[in-house]
């Protein structure tokens, strides 16, 4: 059995949604940890030692044993602290677990689509935007069943789970990207009477952002927009 205050470190970076997934998971479960900010332009020797294969954050280090890949870390967190079961990240039933993992993987596999939307211009950008909208539509259809028809607050149910944590980036980072790119994808409406093309996804995003743990653990929106503007500018400048 693990004890309180044991050695748990999270290596992350403030602009990274992958980093936040793990941070949210730890905070939701009430696991104490030490956060270490990595400068991605100057990766620490610790990061290179902990994740030699990918050299990426996030990395969770538990008792000096490193674990990389955000969704792998979330599964580990769920299993390693069984006594922290007020907030399970995965359901108990094997079929429901398979469904949670299916949608988690779906979201993860679509990262390249959104990355293309973010860094491209012209015709390439238009194509990427179309693809990204189709991805959002697929998630909207799933949200229609879960959030719309079944009336759940989150994909997990009444509390945030692994699918919600993996998708959470769209409620904040994607919106910041939209500002930087100048092309809207989500078309979230502030007026409750008006429904955009993703009404159930919008409802889910609102629930997610309003959760006290999430709300208190988000990077500054304006800083993020500025960061993305600079990043996009660099991508475009170096792509020709």
């Amino acid at each position: 059995m693990e004890e309180e205050g044991e050695d748990v470190k999270l290596l992350g970076a403030w602009p990274s949604p992958f980093s936040y997934r793990v941070l949210w998971g730890l905070k939701l479960k009430g696991i104490s940890f030490q956060y270490e900010e990595e400068d991605l332009a100057r990766k620490s020797s610790a990061l290179l030692r902990y994740n030699p294969v990918h050299r990426k954050i996030p990395v969770l280090v538990h008792g000096e044993k490193p674990i990389a890949e955000s969704t792998v870390i979330l599964e580990y967190i769920e299993e390693a602290w069984p006594q922290k079961n007020d907030h399970p990240l995965l359901p108990q039933d094997p079929l429901e677990r398979a469904e949670a993992r299916f949608w988690t993987k779906f979201v993860e596999d679509k990262n390249p689509t959104f990355f293309r939307y973010f860094r491209s211009t012209g015709v390439d950008q238009e194509q990427a935007t179309e693809e990204a909208k189709q991805v959002l539509k697929a998630i909207e259809d799933y949200a229609e069943l879960q959030i719309g028809k079944e009336g759940k607050k989150f994909f997990r149910g009444g509390t945030i789970g692994i699918t919600d944590l993996t998708l959470g980036w769209i409620s904040w980072w994607l919106k910041a990207m939209e500002e930087a790119v100048g092309v809207k994808l989500l078309m979230e409406t502030t007026d409750e009477a008006e429904e955009g093309p993703f009404p159930n996804l919008s409802r889910w995003m609102k629930n997610f952002r309003e959760d006290p743990v999430i709300r208190d653990n988000l990077p500054d929106f304006d800083d993020l927009v500025l960061y993305f503007k600079r990043l996009r500018h660099n991508f475009i400048a170096t792509s020709d």
Partner: protein, 230 residues
């Protein structure tokens, strides 16, 4: 629940389908194999996996499970008596999941990269990339196996299944390109592991013969180079 009828929607050449078959065999679960024809998608497939329209799909009673590694975990959790396919140590489990993700994200694209290479230069680069990845996996084997026979230890486990399913296609790639990718000289541990994996009772009847797969590959690659007009 475990007693409900099991069907697997798949196709004999698919390494992803093989993952599910090996897992069912390891758990001694009987199942009906529903073969999909290449180039067509049955109504059952379109209904069972509307999001991706891909095999494998596990049909367990009235439950549908998609995505090969998710199916393997489902099988492990439902038929839970006996040894698990994931290691029992939590850190080792995370390590197995990490490497399985690496197999899907890095290994598999690099392997098809060879088939998709349009000229000799590209082919050479693709083969080089596969060799680099195999060197990484040789190292991973040392760490995961801890001196035992398989990635999973004494028995075929999750990571063995995740990677081993590609051995048929790897041998076809070697044959078609006149190269050695896994060999006793370059990747001694993987070479030994590959032999043991393919000989395992849960694997040997579902691993296609290299010659049969090579014939199939010729037909498939002809389609890559001359895609039928839509």
């Amino acid at each position: 629940m475990a007693g409900d009828a099991v069907k697997l929607l798949g196709a004999w050449p698919s390494p992803f389908v093989m993952r599910a078959q090996i897992a069912l065999n390891l758990k001694s679960v009987g199942y009906e194999f529903l073969e999909e024809t290449l180039g067509t998608k049955s109504q059952l497939l379109l209904q069972s996996n509307p999001v991706h329209k891909k095999i494998p799909v596990l049909i367990h009673g009235d439950k549908l499970v998609c995505e090969s590694l998710i199916i393997v975990q489902y099988i492990d959790e439902v038929w839970s008596s006996g040894p698990g396919m994931l290691p029992s140590d939590l850190y080792d489990r995370a390590t197995a999941r990490f490497w399985a993700a690496y197999i899907d994200d890095k290994w598999f694209p690099s392997l098809i990269g060879i088939a998709k290479a349009q000229d000799d230069g590209a082919k050479k680069a693709a083969i080089e990339q596969v060799s680099e990845i195999l060197a990484v996996l040789e190292d991973a084997f040392t760490k995961c196996s801890k001196g035992k026979t398989f990635f999973g230890g004494d028995r075929v486990g999750y990571l063995d299944i995740a990677f081993g399913c590609f051995l048929g296609w790897l041998r076809v790639t070697e044959k078609m390109n006149g190269v050695e990718l896994i060999s006793r000289s370059k990747t001694p541990q993987l070479a030994q592991w590959a032999e043991r994996f393919c000989a395992d009772p849960a694997v040997k009847d579902v691993m296609p013969e290299t010659d049969k797969l090579a014939e199939f590959a010729k037909v498939l690659f002809a389609k890559f180079k001359n895609p039928p007009s839509q």
